[in-house]
Symmetry: C2
Subunit: 473 residues, 2 copies
C-alpha cells in the first residue's frame, strides 16, 4: 500500500482539526496517511477568542488557552513542525517550500493533499504600526505584550474599532478599572453586526460598564506622546516597554485623543498571500472559497479564517472569522481527505459576546444587507420586544430585548438580535437553529421550548417576538 | 349582524389565552363576539409553576404570580365571572348550567362556542387526604396554606413524589434550611422524564443541595403523629394549623418516615369530569384529545391541562400538563374561534427545572418509550458527554453532561437530556428546535450556534454530543 501524505499549513483550529480527523478517518479505513503540519509561530491550537479574557485576568496563563500542546499533537501521530514557515506552494508538482526559522534552512516537501489553514491577520494600516503602547488583540504574542503593558496599570486606554474584538477589549479594560474610550467609525458599536436600534443597546451596555463610546469617527493616525522619561525604565528595573510614554490618536475630523495604551481592533482579513501567489482564486471578501467538502481544487483544501463561508440565508459567501466555523470546516476537510464523507453546510451568521454586563447576540441578515438578497424594507416586517430572561416575578429575571425580522409572503425568519441580562445571549441558538432549518416565523412561535420560572417566561422571549412578527407578516 | 357567544370554562392560561385571542381576532374581522368566562375559584391567570418559588420566598406575594387580575381581564372586554362553577354541559342544545358559588344560585347560559379549559387536578388517593400538615403543591390556595405552614419554621419535611413538582418543592424546602427527604417509587427522581444515568445526576443535584433521596419506595399511608399539644396554639396566639403535630408516612415495604410537613407531588391528571359526563371522548392518558385547531367536536374546543397533546416524535398523544403548552394551544383555539387560521403543531416533550444548583432539562423520548415507536435498543445509539458551559479556561465554565439518542438508519435525533451548572439547561432548546424541525443528528452537529468563551466551548456541548452520536449512527 502506498503511503499518502497530507501537508497542512497552519496549526490552529482549522489545521489541527483537519490533521487529526484525516488521521482518524484514514486509519479507520486502513489507509496509511502521513500528516505533516507546518506552523510558523511557536504556538499551536490556541483560543484567540480567549485573549481579552486572559488580559482581564479571568484566565491565569496563556497555557490555559492552548487546547493541545505541540507535544500532545505529536503523541497523537501528527508530525507537527513548529517555527516552520511555508514560503511558497508549487501546486503543479505537489510541493511546498518550507523555511525552518530556527535553523534558517529551507527545504522542499512533497504532498498528495495540501490543506491551507493560514488564518486571518489583523488589518493594520501603516499609521497603526510601530507606535509603542498601540497593539492589536489577535495573537498569543499580542496577548503576552498586552499582559506586560497591563502590569504597569495604565490609567487610560483607547480602543480603536467597534467590532467584536474592540467591544471585548473595551470591556476588559473597564473591568480592570482603566478609564476606557472606544472609538468607532460606525454610527454605533457593532453596527456591522446589529441593526441600529439594537446596536444602541450594545452601546448602552458598554457605557453602563464605564466605557466612553465615541461613534462616527475614523482614526487615521497614531503618534507617540514623546520619548520615555530618560532612564526611568532602567532605574526602576522594569522593561523598556513598561515605560512607553502614551499614544496620541488622531481622527479624520480633527479630533484627538490621548491614552496610555491603545488597542487596535480595526478588523481582520484572510491571510491568503501564499494562496494568491500560487494562483488560487480569491473570493469577493478576500478569502479562499472552498466547496462544501472544503476543496479549493483537486488535492487542495482550505478551512478556517483564510476562507469565506457560505451563508445559508444570504445564499452567498461571507467572511466570518470565527473559531467555531474553523473547527467544523477543518473537521469536514479532514474527514474527506481521510476518505470519508462530510460536508460543511454553511452558516447563518450567529455570534455572541458581552458588552459590559449585557449579553449581545445575533444571527441572520442585517436590514442593510437586504438588497443583496433582492429584498427591500417593504418585503420584511420587524418586531422588537422587551421581555425578561426568567418569569417576571423571579429574582433571576433580567431584561431582554429581542428583535426579529421576517420575510413577507413566505414568512421565513431572516434575522434575530438579542441584548439582555444573564441568560439572554444563548437564546440566539433557538433562532439560529430555526433559521438553519428554514422554519417560518409562525413555526418558531409554536416551538416546544423549555419553560420553568427560573429560566423563562411562559412564552420564551424569542417566541414572543416571533408570535408578534407572525401577526405582522 | 348576529352576536355570537363563546363560553369558556376555566380562567387560567389556556382559557384566558383563548378568550382574549378570540376577542382580538373576531374584532379584527368585524365579528361581534361575546366572551363569558366562568371560574369556580377566586383566582385567575396565575402561574402554578411559580408556587414552589413563592414558598421559597423568591416571590414576595401571590399577587406577583397573577399575570392578569380579574379586573384587568374585564377591562379588556372579557365577561369574567369568578366563583362561578359550571356544573353541567348540554352540548346538544348549546347550554351550560352554572352555579354562582357566592350567591348560591344556579342558572343556564347558552353558547355558540364552548371552550373547555378546566386544567388538571392533583392525584390524591384517599390515604393522602385530610392529614394536617400534608398538602399538594398545585393551586394558589395550596400555596397560601404552605406559606402558613412554613411560617412556623418546620425543621423537617418529606416530599412524596419525584416528578417536577416533587423535585422543585424539595429544592425549596432545602433552600429554606428544612431537613428534607424526597421519597419516590421510581428508581431515581424524575425517572419518568430522564433515562436512568441522567436521572442519577438529578439525584446528585438534590443530594448536593442537602436533600435525602429515597428511591424505589411507594408511600401508601399518611397519619397524624398525634393531637396538637393542648392549648399550645391558643397560648401562643397562633392559628391552629400552626400546631399540627407532624405526619407519619408509611411505605409499601414497611418503612416509615416522620416529618413535620409533607408535600404531595404524586402527579396530576386532566380534570375532565364535566366533559365525560357530557359524553365527550377521552383519550388513552385520560385527557380530551382535540384536533390541531383544538376542536373536540363542532363548536366545542379545549386546551391546556385538561387535554392530551400531540408528541411529534412519538406520533401519538401524551399528557404533558405545562403552562407553555396551555398558553399556546389556548391561543390557537381563540384564533380559530375568532375566525382566523391557526394550528397547534404539537410538542417534542421539552421540560426544564432545577435540582439544587443543577439545571436539568430534557426533550424527546425516553429509551423505555422506544417500543411505543416500534423501536428497540438495537435501533438507536446513545452518547453521553461531559463538557463545560463556557470555554474550559473561563471562570464561567460549569460542568455539563449531555446525553443524546439517535435513530440508526435515518439518523434523526430522538432525545436530548442535559444536567449541568449555570447556563446548561436552556441549551435543550437547540435540541428541541432541531427535533421539532426533524433535523438529523449530523446536521445538529454542524449548526451555527453562538460561540464566545464566556458562553460556550468552541463546539457547543449539544454539538459535541451530536458529533459523537453521528459517528456512531
Amino acid at each position: 500500500m502506498n503511503r499518502r501524505r497530507l501537508v497542512v499549513v497552519g496549526a490552529d483550529g482549522a489545521g489541527m482539526s483537519a490533521a487529526h480527523q484525516a488521521l482518524r478517518v484514514s486509519r479507520s479505513r486502513g489507509v496509511d496517511l502521513e500528516v505533516i503540519v507546518f506552523e510558523k509561530t511557536g504556538h499551536t491550537s490556541y483560543s484567540a477568542c480567549g485573549i481579552p479574557y486572559w488580559m482581564a485576568g479571568d484566565v491565569e496563563s496563556a497555557d490555559a488557552l492552548v487546547a493541545r500542546t505541540a507535544g500532545e499533537h505529536r503523541s497523537m501521530g501528527v508530525d507537527l513542525r513548529m517555527h516552520h514557515e511555508v514560503m511558497a506552494l508549487d501546486l503543479a508538482s505537489g510541493k511546498v517550500e518550507v523555511r525552518d526559522l530556527e535553523e534558517s534552512r529551507t527545504c522542499t516537501v512533497g504532498f498528495d493533499d495540501l490543506m491551507l489553514a493560514t488564518g486571518a491577520e489583523p488589518v493594520l494600516p501603516d499609521w497603526a504600526r510601530g507606535v509603542p503602547g498601540a497593539l492589536p488583540v489577535k495573537t498569543l504574542d499580542d496577548g503576552y505584550a498586552w499582559r506586560t503593558l497591563l502590569e504597569n496599570k495604565p490609567t487610560s486606554a483607547l480602543v480603536v474599532g467597534g467590532g467584536f474584538i474592540g467591544v471585548e477589549t473595551a470591556e476588559t479594560f473597564a473591568r480592570l478599572g482603566v478609564a476606557t474610550t472606544l472609538v468607532t467609525r460606525g454610527e454605533e458599536p457593532m453596527s456591522s453586526s446589529f441593526d441600529p436600534h439594537m446596536a444602541a443597546l450594545v452601546r448602552k451596555g458598554l457605557e453602563q460598564a464605564g466605557v466612553e463610546v465615541v461613534t462616527g469617527v475614523e482614526v487615521n493616525a497614531l503618534g507617540s506622546l514623546g520619548p520615555s522619561p530618560a532612564g526611568a525604565g532602567a532605574a526602576n528595573g522594569t522593561r523598556d516597554d513598561a515605560t512607553q510614554p502614551g499614544v496620541r490618536v488622531a481622527c479624520a475630523g480633527g479630533a484627538e485623543y490621548e491614552a496610555e495604551v491603545v488597542a487596535l481592533g480595526i478588523g481582520v482579513r484572510p491571510r491568503v498571500r501564499l494562496a494568491m501567489e500560487a494562483g488560487l482564486p480569491i473570493g469577493r471578501h478576500g478569502g479562499l472559497v472552498p466547496d462544501e467538502q472544503q476543496r479549493v481544487q483537486d488535492g487542495v483544501w482550505a478551512a478556517g479564517d483564510c476562507c469565506e463561508v457560505y451563508n445559508r440565508t444570504l445564499r452567498s459567501h461571507w467572511f466570518v472569522p470565527l473559531g467555531t466555523h474553523a473547527n467544523k470546516a477543518g473537521r469536514v476537510a479532514g474527514t474527506v481527505i481521510g476518505g470519508g464523507t462530510a460536508s460543511f453546510p454553511g452558516i447563518v451568521g450567529t455570534a455572541i459576546t458581552r458588552a459590559g454586563r449585557a449579553e449581545v447576540a445575533r444571527t441572520g441578515v442585517l436590514r442593510k444587507w437586504l438588497p443583496q438578497m433582492g429584498l427591500n424594507e417593504d418585503d420584511v416586517a420587524v418586531v422588537t420586544v422587551d421581555s425578561t430572561t426568567a418569569s417576571g416575578y423571579m429574582p433571576e429575571a433580567d431584561p431582554i430585548t429581542v428583535c426579529v425580522v421576517g420575510e413577507k409572503g413566505i414568512g421565513r425568519l431572516l434575522s434575530c438580535q438579542i441584548v439582555g441580562g444573564r441568560g439572554a445571549g444563548k437564546r440566539i441558538d433557538t433562532a439560529a437553529t430555526a433559521m438553519w432549518a428554514g422554519l417560518r416565523v409562525d413555526e418558531v412561535a409554536m416551538l416546544d421550548l423549555a419553560y420553568a420560572p427560573p429560566f423563562s417566561p411562559v412564552w420564551d422571549p424569542v417566541q414572543i417576538a416571533c408570535r408578534k412578527l407572525a401577526d405582522r407578516l
